[in-house]
């Protein structure tokens, strides 16, 4: 099953690379291709970067330099749920640092890390654009606002519960 899924992903990626290779200066689309990889795999696996290198004729070192430069790209597999804490100024002024502390403690991980059960990856974001309801965090694209410690922990627990139900 996973094999088929992986094959599908690979096909989709190659189709995308074929598409950009039609463009002029096609290797300028590297970042777009890496976005595609991350969209498909959740992170940038080394063997996929190798495939990109070969197909697009871009040295792996160059891809690696780009992949590590941009914070948007994950270099390690990520958890099921990505928790991004907004550390924009508005959120900071309204206590985002405290909330981050709560999250680190609750999840037992630092920024950029993934919990052992692979349920959560903690990230820091620079302004999610929801300053009006600061402080905010985003889980898998959904924004939660006007947080305090309790609310934060409650939300995390909801996701834990959901994962539990999934398993059952």
């Amino acid at each position: 099953m996973t094999q088929i899924v992986n094959e599908d992903k690979k096909n989709e990626l190659y189709a995308f690379m074929d598409e950009v290779s039609q463009e002029r200066r096609s290797n300028s689309y590297l970042i777009a291709v890496l976005h595609k990889v991350q969209q498909l795999y959740g992170y940038l696996p080394q063997e996929v970067m190798d495939q990109v290198a070969e197909k697009m004729e871009i040295p792996t070192s160059h891809i690696w330099g780009v992949a590590t430069f941009y914070h948007y790209f994950n270099l390690k597999p990520i958890g099921k749920n990505i928790v991004s804490v907004c550390m924009g100024t508005a959120c900071y002024v309204k206590g985002a640092d405290k909330m981050l502390l709560t999250l680190k403690k609750e999840l037992g991980i630092e920024i950029g890390e993934t919990t052992e059960d692979k349920l959560f990856t903690l990230q820091e974001a620079r302004c999610l654009g929801a300053c009006g309801i600061a402080p905010v965090m985003m889980i898998n694209g959904k924004i939660y606002g006007e947080l305090d410690s309790k609310k934060t922990v409650d939300i995390i627990n909801q996701y834990r519960k959901a994962a539990q139900t999934d398993i059952e």
């Binding site: 200066r25 096609s26 290797n27 300028s28 590297l30 080394q46 970067m49 190798d50 290198a53 070969e54 004729e57 871009i58 040295p59 792996t60 070192s61 160059h62 891809i63 690696w64 330099g65 590590t68 430069f69």
Partner: protein, 593 residues
């Protein structure tokens, strides 16, 4: 044509050509603006900010390496504010740099150290956290020490722009930026060709050759072995610089004498094996040429090129000469023919090579080169390492009495000497191939078309009414450009020489560091080193490899004839595609690479 404009530097006016940067203009006028990331052969980085100057009317300082001059520009290179800013910049670099100068290999040879001294940094104001990364000792040739790296980016640009190997990149960013191969792969497993040019351009000790000097001293003290050394042509042409001499002095006599003083029992010359290589290679070429073999034939003397070819050009493997490099031929012959001759078990022979090259350390360890279960060369040290050993052993190198190498593997023709300069192998091969093919002696043996520092050189000659087209490339980047042509037009050339380093072996990754106020890989120095070898050639009576009597003897006594079964066993090898695959980027601009 550039017009003449007036600029002022430090309140005095000068008339200069307009198409220059501030740094170029200042250099010509005798103002040496301090610099770090700048290298004339590499693209402008503008990163270190050491070369900042004040231009009147501008709010901020500008980097003189990149800023163009304009008419009426008023430049200040040495105000108190500037001096302080530069000093602080250098201090900031030092603050994130290990404070171990006295135990560092680049002590007294370090650009950062020199800059710090010239800035007068006597106190430290801003010390704080320092980066720390593991040293990468995985490669047999090149050590990477990120702690010493000051992120000037010269190695990265060298690796991608000049060598086009694209092994090194800056990864991560900001304070966490590190120079590394893709995926932080160990150097030994990466596409690094071990050419060592990163070492040559590194201002500090972030890249070094793997140092075997202690090991060698140890082994030289072993009474139970026969210690044999060989040394490459380019070593003699450059080692003087490590002793403060100007580039271009041939130090062959001093070297031979020093080797004996260091404890070597036999001193041989790689130039002998160069002659041997020519015998085999010229024969191999003629064989291919006459029998519709795979052409163009490409030389295989350069170890960095060897690895490069296996990773980047697996499709051209059949075009590569099967000849081992001179060093490896010399090693193989030392442990067979020579061992028999002196009646010693070859396992008791310590075969040492002194090379201008870091990649030879890698080559010596290639399993493909093992014959009869033995490596041909046991230890490779670079010109830099041997210079240090000579100093360390207290040998008065500059005043020592000249000595000559030993027989039977120490005598060479002039053709063997010019191996060290780009085009030399081709020139030597032509001298011999011509005679082998036509039975006549080539009179006009100095082939100017393929000498000099042009990236790709072409030549053609006629042998018995047949045109032979040859090409020569030095530096792996130039090689790439040449081979792309070959891929498109396989019949364009018959014979190609490729050397991995700029200028050929004289510009090898193991050559002495640039002298104070000199630029690493300066073209003038490279030319002078090459000139020393051409002088050596001219000074010899025997200038064609096949005329070398010791070579003739070797064939008579041992190898029978070029390309014989014995030759194949000892002097030839094979190549295979290697992982990881090397990728040369598309040439169009737009990848930023």
């Amino acid at each position: 044509m550039a017009e003449e404009i007036t600029i002022s530097i430090n309140t005095k006016e000068y008339k200069v050509a307009s198409d220059q940067t501030i740094m170029q203009a200042a250099d010509k006028l005798g103002f040496h603006i301090p610099r770090l990331c700048y290298h004339p052969k590499l693209s402008i980085e503008g990163a270190c900010r050491v070369c900042i100057v004040q231009v009147e009317g501008m709010q901020n300082y500008v980097a003189s390496c990149s800023y163009p001059i304009s008419d009426g520009m008023k430049i200040h290179t040495n105000t108190q504010d500037l001096r302080r800013a530069r000093r602080d910049i250098i201090e900031l670099i030092l603050d994130n740099h290990p404070l171990d100068c006295h135990t560092c290999e680049r002590d007294a040879n370090c650009e950062l150290q020199r800059l710090a001294a010239s800035m007068g940094i006597h106190a430290r104001h801003f010390e704080g956290e320092k980066k720390h990364y593991e040293k990468d000792l995985s490669s047999d040739a090149v050590i990477r020490d990120p702690d010493k790296c000051i992120l000037c980016g010269r190695c990265v640009r060298m690796c991608s722009e000049i060598q086009q190997v694209h092994n090194l990149t800056q990864a991560y960013r900001g304070f966490s930026t590190v120079v590394m191969p893709a995926y932080n792969m160990p150097m030994g497993e990466s596409v690094c060709t071990a050419c060592g040019q990163c070492i040559n351009v590194c201002p500090t000790a972030a890249f070094l050759e793997k140092n075997y000097t202690q090991d060698l001293f140890e082994k030289l003290n072993d009474p139970d072995t026969v210690k044999v050394v060989q040394f490459a042509p380019s070593v003699r042409a450059a080692i003087g610089e490590a002793f403060g001499l100007a580039p271009g002095r041939n130090m062959e006599g001093e070297l031979v004498a020093s080797f004996r003083k260091l404890g070597f029992d036999y001193v041989f010359d790689t130039q002998f094996a160069a002659d041997l290589t020519i015998m085999e290679e010229a024969s191999e070429f003629l064989e291919r040429f006459q029998n519709n073999g795979k052409l163009p034939m490409i030389t295989s003397c350069s170890s960095a090129w060897m690895k490069c070819m296996e990773q980047f050009y697996p499709d051209l493997i059949d075009n590569i000469s099967t000849c081992k490099s001179p060093m490896s031929m010399q090693g193989a012959i030392t442990k067979s023919y020579f061992a028999k001759k002196i009646g010693v078990d070859p396992k008791k022979i310590l075969s040492v090579a002194v090379m201008c090259c870091t990649a030879k350390k890698y080559e010596a360890s290639r399993p493909e080169l093992i014959v009869d279960g033995m490596r041909g060369v046991d230890i490779v040290v670079t010109t830099r390492e041997i210079a240090w050993m000579i100093k360390s052993a207290g040998i008065d190198f500059l005043n020592i009495e000249h000595e000559e190498a030993d027989h039977p593997l120490g005598m060479s023709s002039g053709a063997g000497a010019i191996f060290g300069a780009t085009g030399g192998v081709m020139e030597a091969a032509i001298r011999t191939a011509y005679e082998l093919y036509t039975g006549q002696t080539l009179v006009d043996i100095e082939i100017e078309d393929i000498r000099g520092l042009q990236g790709v050189k072409e030549g053609r000659l006629e042998i018995d009414g047949q045109e032979i087209r040859v090409a020569v490339a030095h530096g792996l980047g130039n090689a790439n450009n040449l081979l792309e042509t070959v891929r498109k037009d396989p019949t364009r050339y018959h014979f190609i020489e490729i050397m991995g380093c700029p200028g050929g072996c004289v510009g090898g990754g193991g050559q002495p560091y640039a002298q104070v106020n000199a630029i690493p890989l300066d073209d003038v120095a490279l030319k002078k080193r090459a000139e020393a070898l051409y002088d050596l050639d001219r000074s010899k009576t025997i200038r064609r490899s096949h005329e070398n009597p010791d070579i003739q003897k070797l064939y008579k006594e041992f190898l029978q004839r070029p390309l014989s079964a014995v030759s194949h066993k000892y002097l030839h090898t094979h190549y295979k595609a290697k992982m990881p695959v090397g990728i040369v980027p598309k040439t169009e601009r737009g990848s930023g690479v």
